[in-house]
């Protein structure tokens, strides 16, 4: 049985006087225990909203969330906010993109780590702080005893992100959701954090949902990758399959448009026409069609279903990139 089973999740933002925006449009995916699943896409594709919806962190007003988010046997979407709080932090941990804005600037770091343990495991402040010190040590923060008393602004960006990981992993959750955990960091620090995440996930058997725009990060970390475009999963594949044979024109184009360090530099980069915000002139059909090189008549007019391929993969395309052409 999967640990997390997201079925047909949709999020619509509604504001009086404006057209409703469907940020997430029927996203389904599963996460097995101990597995690392990637959600990849560009800005506005709905990857962050998906993670917020799973955790019940979207604002109460102004949006409509439908579908199911099953964590083992429980549908998280049906839980009352009060009950959901018991799950968050204990069974599901989350790491956000910007560690400075997700840590409280006026509370010492130690207290912020300890409060998770106090809330969920009923520790006393003293015991929780002792454990917090071990946690900070485990995520590679030097001199943890002194760091406990310090405030977030006294730490560098990489250290803050480590502290956030310590908080997320304090209760040994079975699922960790990381939303762009390294985007705000420099490459050398990014490499440190990714290595740390990999080790922690391998050691503790925690399942990880990795949300990122960076295909390189996905390649090194994830078992299965979901590529999102305009709120829909357009391609899902085991990572070796995805990078060796991307079938969706969007995935294919993305992989070709990134300059790579390990191949000779070519003259020009492959580019995808237009931009994500290009309006889709048709209500049904493929959202990528206006930018697609492989556009056929069938792409427009009817909704393209997500068809299963092989090895647990899936593809939403009427005219996919043929296998032999793929890079």
């Amino acid at each position: 049985m999967p640990l997390l089973d997201v079925r047909d999740l949709s999020v619509t933002f509604e504001r009086r006087g404006t057209r409703p925006v469907r940020a997430v449009d029927g996203v389904s995916f599963t996460v097995e225990p101990g597995q690392t699943v990637g959600l990849v896409g560009e800005s506005g594709c709905g990857k962050s909203v998906t993670s917020l919806a799973i955790m019940g962190l979207l604002p109460r007003r102004g949006n409509k969330v439908t579908g199911e988010v099953r964590f083992e046997d429980t549908d998280l979407l049906t839980l009352r906010p009060k009950d959901l709080r018991d799950w968050r932090g204990r069974d599901i941990g989350m790491i956000f993109q910007d560690p400075l804005s997700s840590l409280n600037p006026v509370i010492p770091l130690g207290v912020q780590v300890a409060e998770v343990l106090e809330r969920h495991q009923g520790r006393t402040r003293q015991a929780a702080l002792r454990e917090a010190r071990e946690l900070l040590d485990a995520v590679g923060i030097p001199d943890p005893a002194r760091r406990l008393k310090e405030f977030p602004h006294q730490l560098s960006g990489g250290m803050r992100q480590r502290a956030l990981i310590a908080i997320a992993l304090a209760c040994k959750p079975r699922l960790l959701i990381a939303d762009e955990p390294t985007t705000a960091l420099d490459v050398t620090i990014q490499a440190q954090i990714l290595t740390l995440l990999k080790e922690l996930v391998d050691d503790s058997g925690t399942a990880l949902v990795m949300i990122t725009h960076d295909l390189g990060v996905v390649a090194g970390l994830c078992d299965t990758v979901n590529v999102l475009y305009a709120g829909k999963v357009v391609e899902r594949a085991y990572r070796h399959d995805l990078f060796a044979e991307p079938r969706h024109p969007y995935t294919h184009g993305l992989l070709q448009s990134v300059p790579r360090l390990d191949v000779d530099r070519g003259e020009r980069l492959h580019q995808i026409r237009g931009s994500v915000s290009d309006n889709i002139p048709w209500p049904e059909g493929c959202a990528f069609a206006p930018r697609c090189d492989r556009l056929v008549d069938d792409c427009i007019g009817e909704t393209v279903p997500l068809e299963p391929t092989f090895r647990g993969g899936a593809l939403r395309c009427t005219n996919p990139v043929p296998k032999e052409v793929a890079v």
């Binding site: 090194g220 790579r260 390990d262």
Partner: protein, 364 residues
């Protein structure tokens, strides 16, 4: 090699750290750029890479005298830029223009594209033939003529960056300093802008100084690449040479840290992880600045600051005492313990206020 357009010699940009209630006492300096010498040849692209806080943006701004350098000389096409004063300098700026990172914050939201582009022309007395200039510039960056009457918010990120490029281009500059021109853009849009920069260089014979943190992008567009660490160049080589034979330990670490979108490569790669963070540029380590994180550091590195020297016939320059020994494998790496880096030390704090640095974020 063609003629040099820009020659920078021992350029230093230091920012004073002020403290005190009544009197502003200078209590120290942030050594943002500390002795950089480089040459940019006409029609070539020089790429500057480094992590945030290494001084690459300050170097670009110092070159255009958007921040006043502390010392050193800048020669542009034979003219000593630092000796130009007032009106002369203002007129000279037509020949060197800048493209900024975030097109949303570098374009005035209340100015139409026409007004944005004409502003520069007026400042330089070139507005007589404005209509033809505007049209050809918009053509060059791939925007329709109808864009003129629109405002920045009506465009997508990639198009906004095209406006930013058009604004620099309209004056007919010889040098364009592009500070993180694609890092705020989505991957699929990055390729469009990178290609555009290349096309413009081919058709107009422009010279670029491109500043970026993304090594893959830099390698794609640059002829010569300089790697900066804590205010100084640590290595300089042609793009292919740098990637096939990195000499400086920092360059090696940078290259091995870049994730590659291919699982087969990622699984096999040997990573060289750097311990700790960038030291404070207000209080740089003695000797070699990289020694606190360098797995090859020796006693000599602490006492003597390595100069940027020509390594061999290829023209590759490196600032490391032991580059040859490391390359031949004679010197073995050792364990490095992460040292505490305190952003709350007086220097870093003051520096943080002086240079409002944007984290290198792609848009979310």
């Amino acid at each position: 090699m063609s003629d040099a357009l820009v020659e920078i010699d021992d350029l230093k940009v230091h920012f004073p750290i002020k403290s005190g209630l009544l009197f502003d006492r200078t209590v120290g300096h942030v050594y943002a750029v500390d002795g950089v010498s480089l040459t940019i040849a006409k029609g070539e692209t020089y790429g500057l890479v480094g992590e945030s806080g290494c001084g690459k943006s300050t170097l670009g701004r110092g070159l255009l005298r958007l921040v006043e350098p502390t010392s050193g000389s800048i020669k542009f096409d034979g003219t000593d830029v630092r000796a130009l004063a007032g009106e002369k300098m203002r007129q000279f700026r037509r020949r060197m223009q800048m493209v900024f990172q975030d097109p949303m914050s570098s374009l005035d939201p209340r100015q139409s594209v026409q007004s944005l582009l004409v502003e520069g022309l007026k400042a330089h007395g070139l507005h007589a033939d404005a209509p033809t200039r505007l049209k050809s510039t918009l053509d060059a960056v791939g925007l329709p003529a109808s864009a003129l009457s629109k405002y920045p918010h009506e465009f997508s990120g990639g198009q906004r960056q095209r406006i930013g490029i058009a604004r620099a281009l309209v004056l007919g500059p010889e040098l364009i300093v592009a500070d993180e021109p694609v890092s705020a853009l989505d991957v699929s849009i990055q390729a469009q802008v990178v290609n555009l920069l290349g096309d413009l260089q081919d058709s107009l014979g422009l010279t670029y100084l491109v500043i970026a943190h993304d090594l893959a992008v830099i390698r794609h567009i640059s002829d010569i690449i300089g790697v900066m660490y804590l205010g100084a160049l640590v290595e300089e080589a042609s793009a292919d040479q740098l990637y096939s034979r990195p000499l400086h330990p920092y360059t090696r670490a940078l290259l091995s840290a870049v994730p590659i979108p291919d699982p087969r490569v990622e699984d096999r790669r040997e990573r060289m992880l750097l311990a700790g963070d960038l030291p404070s540029p207000a209080n740089p380590p003695s000797g070699c600045r990289f020694r606190t994180r360098c797995p090859w550091s020796q006693l000599r590195c602490a006492s003597e600051r390595p100069a940027l020297r020509v390594f061999d016939d290829s023209g590759q320059r490196v600032a490391c005492h032991f580059a040859a020994e490391i390359l031949s494998g004679k010197l073995r790496p050792h364990e490095v313990r992460a040292e505490l880096v305190r952003p709350d030390s007086p220097g870093a704090d003051a520096g943080g206020e002086l240079i409002p640095t944007q984290p290198d974020l792609p848009t979310q």
